[in-house]
Symmetry: C2
Subunit: 333 residues, 2 copies
């Protein structure tokens, strides 16, 4: 569990895209983002107040989050100066970088001396149990994709926001590094040991109120041969009551796999539902979330209308047109 709120560290980001994680935090949990800290030459800007460490401390920030991809895969000396000062000022550090904070001897030493924590969200910090398959109270929704990176996380976050606005009980359950940094906790599922994957998802989505929904962040795809095992563990560990199908219609091949064609939404529906009903016989497919970013607005609207007619399910791009239809479908479960 990472202490919030955050000061978002943008370092010397070469462009806006490099600050993807910080943008996610600011978009989805603005209450967690007290301000931004930019170094000389930083080309990214979140539109938040620029703060010194002292300003942010005074404003209540607890953790300095590295919200930017680092250059060359290493934590530079220029960054180190800021990170060490942050620890000395009483901040914890959190990062999703491949280059782990805990592998930097100086950061470890300073953190220990100052009594601060280093959170590498790529690395599990919990000894997860083996899944026991016992039915839990409360409801769970999982987005499953025709491919990786089709918008499963944004779908869950958009639904969570809409549900909160409606006064429904919901919790976004992060299973990847960006989601964990956005919310402050979760399971870095792709880094969990095989035997404990499903158990970590059970741990993440425990008993809850009967009318509470966990919106579980999806990962991978049953049809992506590199990562399908992770998706399978989400389906069985998550015991979803509702599945959302996630799709990106313009993709010509599976991400990173030039010889593999994405499946049809019908194939995804049938395969995912069959497997989900092993863990929860009442599971239903309730809607479709489409990433239409590569389509014009009219084209996207027409595509969604046709999809609704073909599949008999509500279909929307929750980022572009709102998650209302998908939340209506959950409310009807």
């Amino acid at each position: 569990m990472i202490e919030t709120p955050y000061l978002l560290f943008l370092g010397d980001a070469p462009d806006q895209l490099a600050a993807k994680v910080a943008i996610g935090i600011k978009d989805w949990r603005p209450e967690n983002a007290v301000g931004q800290l930019r170094m000389d030459g930083c080309k990214a800007d979140l539109g938040l107040a620029d703060m010194t460490l002292q300003d942010a401390k005074a404003a209540g920030a607890k953790t300095l989050v590295i919200g930017v991809a680092n250059r060359g895969g290493v934590i530079s000396q220029a960054w180190k100066k800021v990170l060490v000062m942050a620890l000395e000022e009483g901040f914890d550090l959190a990062s999703g970088l491949h280059n782990l904070l805990r592998d930097e001897a100086d950061l470890v030493a300073v953190a220990e001396a100052c009594g601060r924590s280093l959170h590498d969200v790529r690395v599990p910090e919990v000894d997860y149990p083996i899944a026991n398959g016992v039915k839990r109270r409360g409801k769970r929704c999982l987005a499953v994709g025709t491919d990786c990176s089709v918008g499963k996380m944004y779908t869950a976050l958009a639904m969570d926001r809409e549900m909160r606005e409606r006064g429904m009980k919901s919790t976004f359950r992060a299973t990847g590094q960006t989601g964990i940094l956005i919310t402050g906790d979760g399971v870095p599922l792709d880094a969990v040991i095989a035997d404990f994957m499903a158990g970590s998802v059970e741990w993440l989505t425990p008993d809850n109120d009967d009318d509470h929904w966990d919106l579980i962040e999806g990962q991978g795809s049953l049809f992506h041969v590199s990562y399908s095992g992770v998706t399978m563990a989400l389906i069985h560990g998550g015991q979803p009551d509702a599945l959302i199908l996630s799709h990106e219609p313009t993709r010509e091949h599976m991400r990173g796999l030039p010889d593999y064609t994405p499946p049809s939404l019908e194939a995804l529906r049938d395969t995912a539902l069959t497997l989900a009903q092993v863990g929860n016989p009442d599971c239903k497919v309730v809607g479709i979330s489409v990433n239409t970013q590569h389509m014009g607005e009219t084209e996207a609207a027409q595509y969604l209308a046709q999809l609704e007619a073909d599949m008999g399910l509500p279909a929307t791009d929750p980022f572009r047109f709102g998650a209302g239809k998908l939340v209506d479908a959950l409310a009807a479960v």
Copy 2:
């Protein structure tokens, strides 16, 4: 890669069952088993020559394999005396125990001093790649089960033996600790990090001769919610050309999951084949392997005959009636 042949260490095994791993080695790779080493009070007996460390060394043994479950989950001082002497005599040590050899400071120190290796087969020793899904040459067969522990490893080992006897090209590919100790190498799949599961199976089953079969040891079940992700990674990383359905007909619930009923063989066939054809569109279900240990001989034969009629596939208990039918089916692919 563990150096063979082995001296099989039975310690102070309380009964024959405790020596399961050693029995597996002796049954399936007798050429790897030079002899057995038993301590005072040992109640297990493989029927191999009892040897001192010196005898076994003279007979060519390279590795002392702990072929027995330890009492209380710890490596006892009585065992330690033998293990330390073995290192000093020039043996490597190999173990599948939860209590890792590498966590015992004295064993580590002696191994280093003697230049010997400690193999904990529960722990991956390779940095596996992420799966790339590229089609490999050669053929692969995978047993998929209605449940865990229904005989998938024995099926693959029995087929491998039959194929060697027929002069066919085959390799048993171990994915669990017992299989790894039997053959000397493999992937401890349940201990691999989620993102690298399918890649580790690709690594285990590389390009080979067009008429060579990898017989991949199955794990878990698509219908076992605790471990289905591991099974999924085997199906997609293994790119099987042939699936064998494995079943234990008298089981009333899924292993360790009292609320879960095993699926029908039809459901297993349809789900596994759909998923396998994502990675290999030419994959076929070629036969059924049944563990009939809880049935009388006549009952078992009748059950298998009925199954063949119902499913239109060859069905046998490879341990009881031989793997010939299953190998015939592979030869016809």
